[in-house]
Symmetry: D2
Subunit: 301 residues, 4 copies
């Protein structure tokens, strides 16, 4: 069952909105076409950077379908599931499968934080995995959720045959290493944070889902390839060049920063939905300066 | 426009589920009938304790309608709005109005935490208030959201004529006092935490929305009345008696603890939805012991 | 043994430094003389606001002695003990006693945070109390220490006959109430945070140790007296007036803010020691504006 | 001036105490003799693991001197400075120099957390470096201090010719990478956390100061050498083997855990000083099991 390819770089695809606030599906398809020119392993639809929490049911369905159609047959399509109840997570995993997703990226429930024990996470993911028609990836993203699933819990869940990996966006390098150590062969540990891409790959992460890859897919793939080729010197150099860009499109300025970076780089970032707001002029200039300083984008020179 | 009565105690009504996991609307109506015997000022539907994040659209609509119907005409009905985008919050406020709510309790957006600046909150609440057909209460609940709206921001929003108050569940007594100081007369500051009910009322809070009031409505109302009657000695005594119960049904054991307390007290708590789970036997006994120790429930002696 | 009077308001006396950085003992004595004009219950030497962590052994000894001498015979003198090891805390408590302190305010150890379990606190305070020649007050100040001693732990320690109270600067009103509930009669729970002075007193706190009282001793005493006289309306009003000043001299601008406030009010605040630094002009003006706005200092009008 | 060798592995030497609680200087010297058999670059005296905060002035002086004498002439001796005021930090740096230290590891001040801005850190370290007779290393250890010095601040301080490096124990891999990127050539960034030793070295850290190295000096040096030899496969394997031991002697069980590990491995760990306490039997067995599982200590097989 675990035949979904998670080796490589996945952008958590952003959702472009028109100025009127509607989803711009043509722009979404256009971005995927551009991304297809890089050696990305696949696409994550409906992640945090896809503003899944700002989309209604129909928009979520259609976004997966559009991405699936615009991707090539070799790309793995992962559908994000951002739900707070177990039953809704199951329903969304089924819907993602219906829309063509190869796997579901299921977030840790995060509302009743004091009740979200490791036992609660174990029950939740096992129940979702029991009923999901497609394999499940665990999604750990404490910056957004305020909760953390432990390495030992993840490793325990890895024995479920329908749970095939984890995307860990904690930035906690020691914890990611521990998850790699504890989980069985074939379980994919994916870095979720561009600031530690090379370190995570050097410790054995199988791939990565990175906001950074929405703006810099080619460079992320080059870094991945360098590690695979055992060219640590090149990987380190790329990591140092990319880190400031990774930071500004995540912790620094968030989704609005990522969309501004994409706009500058000729992709269709568009604007975010409220309560997020488009960057002001000063922040936009900061993003541009960071991009220029990487020295990795000949197209803007 | 600000004629909604928010003076007094409001339980954030829980949602009973059957063992099969369906909403038990009859049980919900039955609880309201019981609550009607106390001098509660009204009911909050679809709050955190109502497991709003575990309910689908239809269930949310119906829950408000049932509560509205079971309440008396003098009760204020507040509909909870737990949405992460501005547009969805507006839609839910409209739906709450359609179902009979007198006001909407709108949570601070909480997903993109690093982007949730005070400016973002200001934009969000002003936009929702502009378009909501019913007055808006701001809902600050850091334990669940991981974000905090400041007293100054709340006071600024109080100048919007469709924003009539705040429910502050932070437990931060100094901040709640500051909000009371900074906001204009007529703006309702409601305590959201039973552990500081008397202190908050003594500082000028106009009312309270308390998980505690779902289990102990009569005692909460008695405490409120004691403060109004300037009987601080009695208010303090009740506060000391009620605090351990308040703690165990919130930070201590959460919604499962509250439902267990209600079951013990002859109300229809039922069980929570996953990923929450019903208390085990040991925790259930702890809840019962805490209830007995209050000395405030002759019905269980 | 528990005959130390802790009922009332205590300023945690600041340590004035000359521009050259030496302790200005004359200024210290002068401040105490001024404070003696209010109805303060006593003085805390070597607290956080006294910059105990910036003083060497000789300076600490002398500061207590000067305060003792400048106070009247009815004032209770509390000596702060800010040590990270149990043996040093014992030594400092002895030294404080030798210098004339009536009680020792012993901070929770705070360096090895992950090892500072409630059991470790229990051992520490029991050992210190066993060997201290003067009664011990527990000092909980999470904003500085990053650790929290629980209400249950404090209540357990209250059975030691040489532990007579706690100064709780957490600002956690529910926890302070719980400590009051759980601890035996005669055990003093002292508020350590001006932002909740009235609420804490209304719940049964026996007194308070407040940075605010270094700047506004008379108003703090008036508030205390109002609560004792059951004049809750006056107490509430004073609380609302004083809270912004309390905030700016603690969480807002810290010790530098407090010293600026004292300087403005005719006390000898002086400047702090590095790494703290004196306020710049803009912040000094903010402090002055906050003081004026209280309407409680006719001397500056 | 920057000729102090910081390339390689440094154990932050523990301080053995006798059962009566006195420093056991013979045991200390004995440990250094054992350590001298590995290819360690030097020794850090008076770090967090050295329980510097539990030592009095004389003990601190003597500990440095003993370590200096027991080390070889090629070892770099770093003296820890754990002081809360700038003037005391300067005094301690001078004392460390007098006792033979080649450099001073100066902790970020951490008591008045809300005043510890990046500007305050900049002033503090510049003043200490101006007056210290030996070069200064910045010490960032948020788990103990609750404060964080930023990469940009560190990089700014790197322009002071008497500030030669940083020991970063945050475990924040992205921040450590950023510090490496931003700081000039010749500035030493030292990992302070065994859980990320290989990742940090692979990103360009020049060395490491690790509790882990007190228990497993040889294995840490082997990992360091593997990275230098570009043998990433071996480095990764050692990292995975060592990580659980690193965790249990730091975040897991702290200094008591480290001392238990040393005792088991034939070093003289002894017991910690209160408020720390020696491990109980169950935790001691856990430590032994973790050590055995590494497969890296033939001496205990």
């Amino acid at each position: 069952m675990r035949t979904v390819n998670l080796n490589g770089i996945f952008p958590p695809v952003t959702t472009p909105f028109t100025d009127r606030g509607d989803v711009d599906y043509d722009a979404l398809a256009s971005n995927i076409s551009r991304y297809n020119e890089s050696s990305l392993a696949g696409y994550v639809a409906l992640g945090s950077n896809g503003e899944v929490v700002h989309l209604n049911t129909d928009e979520r369905r259609k976004a997966i379908a559009i991405i699936k159609r615009a991707a090539t047959s070799t790309h793995t399509i992962v559908g994000g599931v951002n739900e707070l109840s177990t039953h809704a997570a199951i329903d969304e995993a089924k819907a993602a499968a219906d829309c063509g997703a190869d796997a579901a990226l299921v977030i840790t429930p995060y509302y009743y934080k004091s009740s979200m024990t490791q036992e609660a996470f174990t029950r939740h993911f096992n129940e979702v995995a029991d009923r999901s028609p497609i394999p499940v990836l665990i999604y750990n993203v404490p910056a957004n959720t305020g909760v953390v699933i432990d390495s030992a819990t993840i490793a325990g869940l890895a024995s479920h045959q329908n749970i095939i990996g984890v995307k860990d966006s904690s930035g906690n390098m020691a914890a990611i290493s521990e998850t790699i150590s504890l989980s069985p062969a074939g379980f994919s540990v994916m870095a979720g944070n561009g600031g530690i891409l090379y370190p995570a790959l050097s410790m054995g992460a199988t791939g990565a889902v990175l906001a950074l890859a929405c703006a810099a897919p080619r460079a992320c793939c080059e870094l991945y390839d360098a590690v695979k080729a055992n060219d640590h010197s090149r990987a380190r150099e790329l990591q140092h060049r990319l880190a400031p860009l990774s930071h500004i499109v995540t912790a620094g300025l968030g989704v609005p920063g990522l969309k501004a970076a994409m706009n500058f780089l000729g992709l269709k970032g568009g604007v975010p939905r409220a309560p997020l707001s488009a960057l002001g002029e000063a922040d936009t200039q900061r993003v541009k300066a960071v991009i220029r300083k990487t020295g990795l984008f000949p197209e803007i020179e």
